[in-house]
């Protein structure tokens, strides 16, 4: 009779992800006992901090939840406040908002794919050794990242924490010269994009599949980054205003970020969910990239979230060029935003790099925020990540602790979690009391 063999996988502070998370897996005689992805980031309390602030500071404050998805928070906050106050943005404003969002998606996806994920496949601990061994890869990554930041700069005034998008529109517009110059940079990125597709098509991702529910926004017009409807890969749609019925939060003791579940249990949001749900609406180049990257839906390998990010990078570059062409053709009109406070409650959802981001605010007659609820993509993905770890761990444990540990870290990285983002998730009701939904 063999003795009990206990295997503990414990990774304290997974590196190359945003924020502080630990992996804990315990197995006895090959049977997985426990799986946890612990989130120990300091709680941040943004919803409480928003109470009493003027409505037009919602974008400024919530963008400081996360520097990487800053524009995403800005846009979700703006959309929600506009919904509450009955403001309908102009077509020009919506085009500029798309650019602002896509710039961030490009820079975030490139950062994740090249700086955080790729080192695992080169067998190194960071991008730093690659400066010596693969300078062309590093330089390409930096050029593409800069391209994303360039878009944010032109539209928002700076790469991190933009200063021009606000409730009702933009306080300053890019000049036609800036847009033309930006378009040239986007056009020049073709070679780098092709090389990126080739690089990521050549990486051998762990072969792991687990079917799950994919949620993303839906729009009849395009591959949705903005929209009023939540689409589920398992069928059915939910209006964004009823998001609480679809996306339900709960506290788990080992995580300062709340977990989320739909009726079907854990679900996934992010690039892979969007490509699965919106493949046919991708730009032509992005669809070709998807074919090259073996990413034709349905795809149920979470490691392919990174490849889906490459596809979306191609999509955003192509679509950004189309939007710039439209803006230059119609000409930019000055539309100074001048929102008047109005009491109401509103919801806004935006597809940000890591998935669907929900903001909801209640605003009083004086324009003060009286109540806020924010649901962050990483929080939505945590339960699904743990479900993947439960399913994958039994195959990894026999390979030894080190291999299991490393592969689980790669799995966490594939989700591109933004942990500091997710640790303030809160459920405030009008009375200011927490309710379990």
């Amino acid at each position: 009779m063999s003795a009990t063999r206990t295997v503990d996988v414990r990774v304290d502070y997974v590196s190359r992800v945003e924020g502080h998370g630990n992996i804990v897996v315990t197995a006895r005689n090959g049977e997985v006992d426990d799986v946890r992805f612990e989130v120990t980031e300091p709680p941040r309390f943004f919803e409480a901090m928003l109470r009493g602030r003027p409505f037009d500071q919602a974008p400024l404050i919530t963008s400081r939840i996360c520097g990487i998805c800053s524009n995403g928070h800005v846009l979700a906050a703006i959309t929600a406040v506009e919904d509450a106050m009955g403001i309908v943005p102009s077509d020009q404003t919506m085009l500029l908002r798309r650019l602002l969002l896509w710039g961030e998606i490009i820079q975030s996806h490139v950062l994740h794919a090249y700086f955080l994920v790729a080192p695992d496949f080169f067998g190194v601990g960071s991008v730093v050794p690659l400066v010596e061994t693969h300078p062309e890869v590093v330089k390409r990554a930096l050029r593409l990242k800069k391209l994303g930041n360039h878009i944010c700069d032109v539209v928002g005034g700076r790469a991190v924490h933009q200063v021009s998008a606000t409730i009702g529109g933009f306080t300053r517009l890019p000049t036609p010269e800036q847009l033309r110059e930006l378009d040239r940079s986007l056009a020049e990125a073709q070679t780098d994009l092709a090389a990126t597709i080739e690089l990521f098509a050549g990486l051998e991702l762990p072969a792991f599949e687990r079917a799950t529910e994919y949620l993303s926004l839906e729009s009849s017009a395009d591959y949705a980054f903005f929209g009023d409807t939540i689409f589920s890969s398992q069928g059915g749609t939910t209006p964004v205003r009823s998001y609480r019925e679809k996306v339900r939060e709960h506290v788990v003791p080992h995580s300062s970020a709340k977990h989320c579940a739909s009726d079907a249990g854990a679900f996934m949001v992010g690039a892979l969910a969007r490509v699965n749900n919106g493949y046919s609406r991708l730009s032509e180049g992005a669809r070709q990239a998807a074919v090259a990257l073996d990413l034709c839906p349905p795809v149920s390998n979470p490691f392919k979230n990174t490849t889906a990010q490459v596809v979306e990078t191609v999509h955003c570059v192509e679509e950004a060029r189309a939007v710039i062409a439209t803006l230059l053709e119609t000409g930019l009109r000055s539309e100074p935003p001048d929102p008047a406070p109005r009491a109401g409650r509103g919801t806004g959802a935006v597809e940000v790099p890591r998935g669907t981001l929900y903001h909801e605010y209640a605003i009083d007659e004086e324009g003060r925020i009286t109540d806020a609820n924010l649901i962050i993509p990483t929080g939505q993905n945590l339960a699904n990540l743990e479900a993947d770890m439960w399913a994958f761990a039994p195959y990894l444990i026999p390979l030894g602790t080190e291999k299991a540990q490393h592969t689980l870290e790669m799995l966490v990285r594939a989700y591109d979690p933004c942990i500091s983002c997710s640790t303030h998730v809160i459920d405030l009701t009008e009375s200011g009391k927490e309710v379990q939904r």
């Binding site: 502080h20 309390f45 409480a48 009493g52 730093v128 790469a159 998730v425 200011g432």
Partner: protein, 262 residues
């Protein structure tokens, strides 16, 4: 405090994160044109978000984020003991930035609101700047830091110079940029009392200064007061704005639990 910088070919940098949005460290990665050279000049021995390997010996500790937990204090003291130079990155670490907004509410209240009865799992204290706990050698201001300022501070330290950060207020840069003044349209702007160096970014983009770079060394108090009076604004209006980024100093210890924003 002037810390002795270990004479070395490649100073070792370590980057630590407290309660922050990671936007300041992202600004370091955003030095796309300089990053390859920078990595040859300095060695990052601790940068969790970008690098797996960790080292415990470093010459410069960069700290991003506000202090919000008791554990942060212990960590900071340990870092201070090891690091000849401690530099803060951004408004969260100094003067306290957006995390300081939490101080406007009772320190237990936000936790209870967020996590309900489970609040005990996640203890949190008032948000404080790093120099409330340990001595700091230099602050790089801003929300986020400007990458040029980061590079110039690192370069200055490498050659043994003090980092050049302006002490005059944002208004100086704003007038040079010939922006229309926010006060002329009735808005409250913190430019007269806020440290310059951002090129008056927000007023230049049709907005106003929210004070992210912290108090200027030589604020223009008299002109500020005159502008406030002309616009019928009072100290309470200023405080309500000031707590956005300067919520540690603005409130003072005993006022910390009051609800300024109401």
């Amino acid at each position: 405090m002037d810390g002795p910088l270990r004479p070395t070919k490649r100073p070792r940098l370590a980057l630590f994160e407290l309660a922050s949005c990671a936007g300041c460290q992202l600004q370091i990665l955003n030095c796309e044109d300089e990053l390859v050279d920078l990595l040859q000049l300095v060695e990052f021995v601790y940068f969790k978000e970008a690098i797996s390997e960790t080292g415990n010996e470093y010459d410069i500790a960069l700290i991003e984020g506000a202090v919000t937990r008791e554990a942060d204090e212990t960590r900071l003291r340990a870092i201070r003991e090891r690091a000849p130079l401690v530099i803060t990155l951004g408004a969260c670490a100094h003067p306290v930035g957006i995390p300081g907004l939490k101080n406007a509410h009772d320190s237990e209240e936000p936790g209870r609101l967020v996590y309900g009865d489970a609040a005990g799992y996640f203890p949190s204290t008032l948000a404080r700047p790093v120099d409330a706990i340990i001595p700091v050698d230099a602050h790089i201001p801003g929300c986020p830091i400007h990458k040029d300022e980061f590079l110039s501070v690192v370069t200055a330290l490498l050659v043994g110079r003090r980092p050049p950060i302006p002490g005059y207020p944002v208004c100086v840069e704003c007038r040079l940029a010939e922006n229309p003044c926010a006060f002329d349209r009735g808005a409250l702007c913190l430019g007269p009392v806020t440290r310059a160096g951002c090129g008056a970014l927000c007023p230049s983009y049709g907005s106003r200064c929210y004070g992210c770079r912290g108090p200027a060394d030589d604020p223009n108090v008299s002109s500020f007061e005159a502008l406030l009076e002309k616009n019928g604004l009072n100290a309470e209006d200023v405080l309500a704005e000031y707590v956005l980024y300067n919520g540690y100093r603005a409130l003072g210890d005993q006022a910390l639990t009051m609800e300024v924003s109401r």
